[in-house]
Amino acid sequence: MLKVNNVTKRFGGLVAVSSVDLEVNEKEIVSLIGPNGAGKTTLFAMVAGFLKADEGRVDFENASVLGMRPHQICQLGMVRTFQITQPFAGLTTLQNIMVGAYSNTSETDLARIKAEEVAEVVGMTSLLNQGADGLTVAGRKRLELARALATDPKLLLLDEVMAGLNPAEIDDIVTVIKGIRDRGVTIFLIEHVMKAVMNLSDRTYVLNDGKLIASGTPSSVAENPQVIEAYLGHGAAEAMAEGA
């Protein structure tokens, strides 16, 4: 469904993303993990059209989306959420979600119905008339998810929707994400919360210093020495093996 081919992004002398290849197939939940500053969000931004890749190609459903603007990519069925939540602060939860729903209809009533449906899916029904600026962190993360979902995407790009949430809230949102997948939406997510990554993903890619260093099932990736070193420092894998 999504194919990223040899994509590179440089900011001045810094290579943020370096020749990355990856693939997301239909109906999968694929995760992208890696230490802070690894280039995960940059990669997302390129896929969703917010940044232009310096090299390589990005294909969505066998057509290149490189050079397209984000709204065009959204209309194709690929939509991203933001790591730093970007609510329409002056609007209510319902109005926020309706903006997403309007991408498929110009009828206000239909958009409202769609928004209410989506709110039910993500568990925000009781917050519909609340101002988005009064939502908790968990509420804002859900709102990001809800707005994106309201555009009826084929592929959802979720950028750390669990960061800053407590364990109970994480369990809730994991259930929501599984529910979304069961409705036929493919999901590609960036996440730091390993428990959720293990629990959710069919496959995982690991990015470090802009390069892919591992990929595979979540458990195989977690045992990969290179991955352990990326997170815990050089020699950590050996130390852990000795300790065990």
Binding site: F88, G90, L91, T108, T151
Partner: protein, 322 residues
């Protein structure tokens, strides 16, 4: 829905009151002041669509007014083209100018104060241009002849212009009323609140902003024809006066940006304050100082405008320990 219906009854009642008002006012002065209030409210509303709803503050809104005024006036003086049709070409001219200015500035990503400044620059550019070319009459200006009649959009009594301005204002309110409940309006507000998020959710932000400035331009164009036919004289400092650019944003900010009645309330309050200050204070210039002081108080203490102050404040839930 009952709420909406009450709202609508209230609206129609207010409209009716304004329609029959001239039958109870014999003073030419009050009719003129009211006409000016509607005219300013109308221009404020055009600014409100781009500034209040889409969040793009323009500082040169007068350019559409001036261009519209020149389009219909030149057509009239040069070709004898009747203003009743000329006003539509003025609308077209304003929209076209909106397209050009919008495309150039939004395309290159100008926003905030940069956008405000570029619109100011465009208005000034047009003023200088109008001064130096021949077909605008240059610095001498254009004189229109007084020949009352609907085809000329001129009227024998001030009441005629009162209704002309009232119709314009009603149309502007209808446009914003439609915005409030339409997809396009929701998209503009989304752009105002967060442009990146709007773009991510499938909104063509460039197109929406250009449409918004084109609507503003179209409305400004019609206002230009109104002004020219009422005052029968046009020169570059009038057509492209910074004063009018400021006034249209001022009435909207004072009344309440992004609200249906903000511009009308703002225009009413500011014109009343202005007239009262002028009436009671004899020292020349002092009335302007009083006017300025009241403005400072309103803007300083009512950041959401008068409408915002009267609206029941939404209960804000904040989580300090989250």
């Amino acid at each position: 829905m009952t709420n909406f219906r009450n709202h609508l009854y209230f609206l129609l009642l207010g409209a009716l009151a304004l329609i029959i008002l001239p039958y109870f006012i014999s003073s030419r002065f009050y009719i003129d002041v009211l006409t000016l209030i509607f005219f300013t409210a109308y221009l404020g509303q055009s600014w409100n669509i781009l500034g209040g709803y889409a969040g793009q503050f323009s500082f040169g809104g007068v350019m559409f007014f001036g261009t519209g005024a020149y389009v219909s006036s030149i057509l009239l003086t040069t070709f004898g083209f009747p203003p009743i049709f000329g006003i539509f070409l003025a609308i077209l001219g304003g929209a076209l100018l909106g397209l050009i200015v919008g495309y150039m500035s939004f395309r290159s990503g100008l926003k905030g104060s940069y956008f405000a400044l570029i619109t100011l620059a465009f208005a000034e550019l047009l003023r200088v241009l109008a001064n130096s070319v021949e077909f605008t009459g240059g610095g001498v200006g254009l004189f229109l002849t007084y020949a009352p009649g609907l085809s000329n959009l001129q009227f024998e009594t001030p009441v005629g212009f009162y209704y002309f301005a009232l119709v314009l204002m009603f149309i502007s309110i209808a446009i914003v009323y439609w915005l409030e409940s339409s997809r396009f309006g929701a998209q503009l507000v989304a752009i105002r609140e967060n442009e990146d998020a709007a773009e991510a959710l499938g909104i063509n932000t460039l197109k929406c902003k250009i449409y918004a400035i084109m609507i503003m331009g179209a409305m400004g164009g019609a206002a230009g024809t109104f002004y020219a036919q009422k005052y029968l004289y046009l020169d570059p400092p009038i057509a492209y006066s910074i004063h009018l650019s400021v006034e249209m944003l001022l009435v909207t900010i004072v009344g309440g940006m992004g609200t249906i009645f903000g511009p009308l309330v703002g225009a009413f309050v500011l014109h009343t304050v202005n007239e009262v200050a002028r009436h009671f204070i004899d020292t020349p210039g002092l009335s302007l100082i009083v006017y300025g002081l009241i403005l400072i108080v309103i803007i300083g203490y009512l950041p959401n405008g008068l409408i915002g102050a009267f609206k029941k404040k939404r209960k804000k839930v904040r989580f300090y320990f989250a």
